[in-house]
């Protein structure tokens, strides 16, 4: 009887502990987060072309590869640029100062270069604007066999990650503009026409191009 009582007591205690462990009160984990630090009025930066971190990829191309876009005809979605002319894009002037870039209107705008005939493309280099640190949105580079972009359309670069430009979701990353431009490996794509789109930037709603170089044969 005494033995039974002991066993019963032990079982009751064990059940009590187990129950209390199961019913342990849970509380929301509260993070202790640091508050913002105060700082005085920041510097009013107006300087041109600050040096920024940039990694230029190494692209191997066949010997004799040239900039086949130099001096080629450029057309665009905005026939009347706000500043400059479309021919600035292939004139070889990569300077960041006023007078070297063309400014197209707001929203999605594109420029297109006719390479004259179908070529093998190894790389494209783009300079949008580098007098100020900014990132252009929805940068898309496409090539095609016809000017209307209906035949053999290939997308070589697309950082429009939310499809706001309507050309599909891209997996490439946004980047900050520098004087070193953006070099894109086109991996030997074949096409006659190249079209570059953008959708404003962190600096303004407008779209800018200083120079585009297309390396191929």
């Amino acid at each position: 009887m005494k033995m039974n009582f002991r066993i019963a007591s032990t079982l009751a205690l064990a059940a009590l502990f187990a129950g209390s462990a199961l019913a342990e009160e849970m509380v929301k984990l509260e993070l202790e987060l640091p508050k913002p630090l105060f700082a005085g009025t920041p510097k009013n930066v107006q300087s041109a072309n600050l040096e920024r971190k940039v990694v230029v990829p190494e692209i191997m191309v066949p010997k004799g590869t040239l900039n086949i876009a130099a001096g080629k005809e450029v057309t665009g979605s905005d026939d009347f640029p706000v500043i400059g002319e479309l021919e600035y894009i292939t004139d070889g002037d990569k300077d960041g100062a006023d007078g070297s870039y063309v400014e197209l209107g707001p929203m999605v705008q594109w420029v297109q270069i006719d390479l004259g005939e179908a070529k093998t493309l190894y790389a494209v280099a783009i300079w949008h604007y580098h007098a100020q640190g900014r990132a252009y949105r929805d940068v898309v580079v496409q090539v095609a066999d016809d000017a209307d972009f209906t035949e053999n359309v290939q997308t070589l670069f697309n950082n429009d990650h939310d499809n706001s430009a309507g050309l599909g979701i891209g997996k490439d990353k946004e980047y900050i503009e520098t004087n070193k431009g953006k070099l894109i490996n086109t991996k030997g794509a074949k096409a006659q026409f190249i079209r570059l789109s953008s959708n404003g930037s962190t600096g303004s709603d407008m779209n800018h191009y200083i120079e585009v170089e297309v390396f191929g044969k």
């Binding site: 993070l31 987060l33 700082a39 009025t41 920041p42 009013n44 930066v45 107006q46 990132a135 962190t202």
Partner: protein, 491 residues
């Protein structure tokens, strides 16, 4: 006169009140709003001399927050803050007739008009910083001081002292105005060889000023070290004024450029006012002594601010208002010279043309170019693109099951952190770090906002860039799962 005055008030209101929330909060505005939020939520304020000015701005915002029913920082809006400088901008115009006995009706109307349409006055009347209240308290000190001087009445002296105390409790640069007032009074005494009849009103004013400043800096006697700290803070201010440890060193002609380019009408008419004072051609209903005092005061203040290496565009307001009063005297002098008949009407019509041009410039300054770097008053201003970042955070919050409980890490230098704390005020789980190494790696944040220089390039996050200020970007890294949920809603 009342109809003209009401019209001027309507113009002033039209430039100050609409679209108050449209311009993104400036770094300094957000900083001040955050400090006010602490006062609102805890009921306590302690003067902090490090990069902060006096307490009046915060205390005066309290009634507005109470009136709008805001009980926490999260419940306040841009309007809660910006309505205060709007009120001071309007009060400055409403109180112009205080000088009527010294400068006459025409000059009062002209001063009210120039204040209403001045691009700088209109722009900073919508800006949650100390400047507009400082200008108002300075004008009140001058106007009540004028009455105390003229009548010797104790009530005016008390008013003058309280206003002078409020000046100091608003911003430490009040001492530059004090020096200009003292210098101008001294120059007036030398030129007229007249001394005050009694120094009793002056002593009363001084006593009131000290009491007022003490009450406010001590947070109503709860922080007795505050008043002493406000004096000790000048060590840092003097160093900064001489160009040490500051990013805001500009050439001596910095303000002169603004006066001639955007405040050309006021500056031009101010020069006419100075000439009319020097040639003693001011109208009979203007007091030459007061006019001379205003001339010396304005010139001394302009010289002092131009000589100080540290310059920010909002500091122009202190002496710009002096130029406005001189310009008003210039207008009165021209009308006085025009006699009767068709000449005053022609003069009125001729003055209306540049006045309309100044109004249009003010309109563009406060609305279209409010945050544009081409606007000389939009100094180190938050870029309009920053609001796209705010919008993106809102879109992500809307699709996340956590809602406003999103865990956000901000990893940025303090100069690149603001105005984020204002726009993230409704999110309780936001932490601020100044380098990526010290930010905890667990739990994983839903969003990381960082300076591109401090970018951690975290795996499993999608990165977007947004403009904070010209040439300063912020990167937002969005947890891939959250991003994919967001993309689902876009299909």
């Amino acid at each position: 006169m009342p109809i003209f005055f009401l019209l001027i008030l309507a113009v002033a209101l039209g430039l100050r009140l609409p679209k108050l929330a449209d311009r993104p909060m400036h770094h300094d505005e957000a900083n001040q709003a955050y400090r006010f939020g602490t006062l609102l939520e805890t009921g306590t304020y302690e003067y902090d001399s490090g990069d902060h000015h006096g307490p009046t701005l915060y205390y005066l915002t309290l009634p507005i927050a109470w009136r709008t029913g805001a009980e926490s920082f999260a419940e306040t809006t841009e309007v809660t803050y910006r309505i205060l400088p709007v009120l001071f901008g309007l009060l400055l115009i409403l109180c112009t007739p205080l000088l009527r006995s010294g400068i006459g009706c025409i000059a009062v109307l002209a001063a009210a008009l120039f204040t209403a349409i001045s691009p700088a006055m209109a722009y900073y009347s919508r800006f949650y910083i100390q400047e507009m209240s400082l200008v108002f308290f300075t004008f009140l000190t001058l106007a009540t001081g004028w009455h105390a001087w003229r009548s010797g009445a104790r009530s005016w002296a008390i008013g003058c002292g309280l206003s002078a105390g409020l000046m100091f409790a608003t911003k430490e640069t009040a001492i530059i105005a004090y020096a200009a007032i003292f210098g101008a009074a001294l120059l007036c005494a030398i030129t007229t060889r007249k001394l005050p009849r009694s120094i009793k009103p002056l002593l009363i004013a001084l006593g009131c000023a000290i009491v007022m400043a003490f009450v406010l800096f001590s947070s109503f006697f709860t922080n007795l070290g505050g008043p002493l700290e406000s004096i000790m803070a000048f060590k840092g201010y003097f160093a900064r004024g001489s160009g040490i440890d500051t990013d805001h060193v500009h050439p001596w002609y910095f303000y002169l450029g603004m006066l001639t380019r955007t405040e050309g009408l006021v500056f031009g008419m101010g020069l006419v006012g100075i000439l009319s004072i020097l040639w003693k051609k001011i109208p009979a209903n203007c007091n030459l002594g007061l006019a001379r005092f205003l001339m010396f005061y304005t010139l001394l203040l302009t010289l002092a601010y131009s000589a100080i290496a540290y310059k920010t565009p909002w500091c122009i307001l202190s002496f710009l208002h002096g130029w406005i009063l001189l310009a008003a005297l210039g207008v009165a002098a021209l009308f006085g010279a025009a006699q009767r008949g068709w000449k005053p009407r022609l003069l009125f019509a001729l003055l209306l043309i540049p006045a309309f041009g100044t109004y249009r410039l003010a309109h563009r300054t406060v609305f279209r170019f409010a945050a544009d770097p081409r606007n000389p008053y939009a100094y180190a201003h938050t870029a309009p693109d920053f609001m796209n970042l705010v919008r993106r955070i809102g879109e992500l919050e809307a699709v996340s099951p956590k809602g406003k409980e999103l865990y956000i890490q901000v990893v940025a230098d303090p100069k690149e952190t603001w105005p984020l704390p204002f726009y993230l005020r409704e999110f309780p789980n936001v932490g601020y770090w100044t380098n990526a190494e010290t930010a905890p790696t667990q739990p994983l944040p839903d969003l990381i906002i960082s300076s591109p220089d401090l970018e951690t390039d975290p795996k499993g996050y999608l990165t977007e860039y947004y403009g904070l200020r010209p040439d300063t970007l912020l990167a937002i890294h969005i947890d891939s799962n959250l991003w994919n949920t967001f993309l689902e809603t876009r299909k």
